[in-house]
């Protein structure tokens, strides 16, 4: 019945993506500013812009262009960039891979840090370690991510020379070199996400640890670690998973700021550049990618919550 749920949600996802793509397409075309002028620059002549518009079929109505674009997508063809005339897939492929690497790295740091700190805070509630964790997360919540990123650069790169100031990644770099190059932006993203999840998970865990069945298990003689990991955490983790799904959306957006601060060649930066130049095909593809990731992440969070907690399986 979980499989049926997944199938239903995937169908809904496709419909959502279609709606998103239509909205992005129409909104980008009504943005002020002439695409030809944006691409060719404001010193271009009227004649040059006319030639450009003809070449890019911009004289056809919006609905027409959207329909042919959707047709192309179903065939796997995302069109060509209005600016560089290269295929959209090749334009965003390496940026998307870079952002994926950074996001996965940040996520891989985020999971253990959140679990450990939240569990410690809950188990030793009221003690110094809990207060320390609470203060750290509060400070982390208040600092904007670009300030945090800049502070990390000046602390770890300039003063301590432990990591590079700019996240320059070369195509031939090995896995561990890449990790070293992207550690500062990954930590920045991790902190920005973890601070919410830690507080939420800690609060939920405290509630669950106070509940009847946990006390029952303790009285029965179940060892503490088993109580926490086998019984308490799976129940507490539901809301934290939802926060994580929300954090993933933050990742898609916040990654723009972090990529700029660290000069990292990712999708966020590419999205901003292509919007300001009105490169509609690239904006579309990037927006679809971001929406797709968000929808899948939410689906995964819901499924995992259900798997962890059988009481949520309603069908």
């Amino acid at each position: 019945m979980i499989l049926r749920l997944i199938a239903q949600r995937l169908a809904a996802a496709v419909a959502t993506l279609l709606v998103v793509s239509a909205l992005v397409f129409f909104f980008t075309s009504v943005l002020p500013g002439d695409i030809a002028e944006r691409v060719l620059g404001h010193e271009s002549t009227a004649q040059q812009r006319e030639l450009f518009r003809e070449r890019m079929h911009l004289d056809r109505p919006v609905y027409d262009r959207y329909a042919s674009w959707v047709g192309g997508v179903f065939r796997g063809d995302f069109g060509r960039s209005l600016v560089s005339d290269e295929t959209v897939t090749s334009t965003i492929a390496s940026s998307a891979r870079n952002t994926l690497f950074l996001s996965l790295f940040a996520f891989a740091l985020y999971l253990p840090v959140t679990l450990v700190l939240a569990t410690l805070g809950a188990l030793f509630r009221g003690k110094p370690i809990d207060s320390l964790i609470s203060v750290i997360t509060l400070v982390g919540l208040s600092i904007p991510d670009f300030v945090l990123g800049t502070l990390l650069i000046f602390g770890f790169a300039v003063k301590l020379s432990l990591a590079p100031a700019l996240s320059i990644v070369n195509p031939g770099d090995g896995f561990f070199t890449r990790l070293h190059e992207t550690v500062l932006p990954a930590v920045t993203l991790m902190v920005a996400m973890a601070v919410y999840a830690i507080r939420m998970l800690r609060d939920n865990l405290i509630d669950v640890l106070d509940s009847e069945y946990v006390r029952m298990a303790t009285l029965k003689g179940v060892p503490r670690w088993r109580v926490v990991f086998r019984h308490a955490l799976p129940n507490a983790i539901g809301p934290a998973l939802n926060v994580t799904a929300l954090n993933l959306t933050y990742l898609i957006g916040g990654v723009v700021v972090v990529e700029t601060v660290f000069s990292y060649p990712g999708l966020g930066k590419m999205l901003v550049d292509s919007i300001s130049v009105r490169d509609v095909p690239v904006v579309e593809a990037a927006a679809l990618l971001a929406s797709g990731v968000y929808i899948l992440a939410n689906l995964a969070a819901d499924v995992l919550a259900m798997l962890a907690n059988p009481r949520l399986r309603t069908t």
Partner: protein, 534 residues
Amino acid sequence: MTRKPLRLLLSALLVAGAAAAAALVGSASGSAGASGIAASPTTVQTPNGTIDTKNCVKYAGVESSGSKNSLDPAQQPSSQNSLNVNATYDRLTTEDDNWKVLPDLATSWKSNASGTVWTFNLRKGVTFSDGKPFTSKDVVWTFQRVIDPKTGSEGAPQMSFLTKQGIQAAGPYAVKFITKKPVAELPLLITNKNTFITEAGTPTATLRTKGAGTGPFIPVGFSPNKQVQTFVRNPHYWRPGLPKASCLQLYVIQEANSMLAALQTGQVDFSQQVDYSVVPVLQKDSKVKLLTTGPSTSMTMPMWVDTTPFKDVRVRQALKKVIDRKQMVNTVLHGFGVIGDDNPVPPTSPDAWRHTVPGPDVEGAKSLLAAAGYSSSNPLKVDLYTADVIPAIVNMTQLFKEQAAKAGIQVNVISGPASEYWDNVWLKHPFEISAWSARPAGLALSIAYLQNAPYPETHWKVPAYDALIKKANTTVNSAARRKVYQQAEKMLTLQGGEIIPMFQRVVAAQRSTCTGYTPSIQFVQFDLTHLACK
């Protein structure tokens, strides 16, 4: 579902997810792709063997063209393209910071008596990086391509006096430029950022990523969105002993703090420009040396001379008199500027009509305003539109507001987003900010002030002014031409609508272990041949 299959499903999902992630990550790290760069991270394969990029000189530019980055000289939307082009190609001539034209691929040039035919003699024995010889047909092809409307080059309007038929080869080592009317400053006007010489017949698509040039460096594996572009020394470069660097890597760092960090950690060796806000920090750092230039970009405030209240010349003069220009340079540019005389030609230039700029005169401004009908019960109120389009310009408007208040003028500063300014705000309001990159006198006086100027910022329509410029364009004798320019400049300073309080100096940086960088006042001209690091 029962327990066991559920757990199997969960573990299977986790394993599948991890495998997919690993595969994607592996492909991201291992993809050498069509980049031409070998699998090892620090070595580069070139036609002349392998080079270790650790020894490359690292230069960081501050602008990004995004997907429009290319090696095609005809289109340079930002200085990122200009860096690529300056590394790969040469022009017939270059300019120094006083706009003196110097030989490059052309060895000498002269015009006929009437100034309608200019002949350029070309350097012999120069080859392109693919081995083909450089001759006059490449020059003819390059110029014809730049002025062709189909190419869409931003360098075309400046050379509107050239026609396709008027560009002719005179033998393999000479080129003639023939114009209907005399163009006294043709050598200066054809030395612009787009006229780097490319090989005749190269299709645009090839030029964008694989253009062959005669310049000091050869691009390796160029592609528009790469984070770092690598260039290697051209072994057949025609200047002996140059370039000093065996290879060059171009980075782009748009954030001021990131540039600061990169310079301090040595991740880059040279910087095209550092932001004024980080100058004090770098001045204290012994590992980084700051380099500066003469007056470069002007920071201006154009007023529409045909619109109230600026229609009254006394109002315009009052607004100019209240400004304490020295204070502006010290406060807004941290001293890295040159005061302006409301003249698009800076006072340090030999072409300027006066070299000493009078200081602020608040009392004079007040009496001018009183004569124009303003008083403390009827103060002059103006709206000034601004945006953060060049460093420190919004600060300039804020300081201007305070200085103007001393004479009872109320300035309402309206700040908007920088990305929309040039499209939606510029040229659309009677009083706003503008900025002009460094230009020689003739161009600076025409581009915004002629009656048919492409960018009539001040709505200045004075036939006598146009007559002066026309006369200057056809005056072949340079001393006589200068006198005419000076008359035109005097008109602008005393009566014109453009307030020009100051010019920025470019502030570049190089690590103390490196030598050889001399920044130019032109943001699009770079001499990369002498860069070297220990």
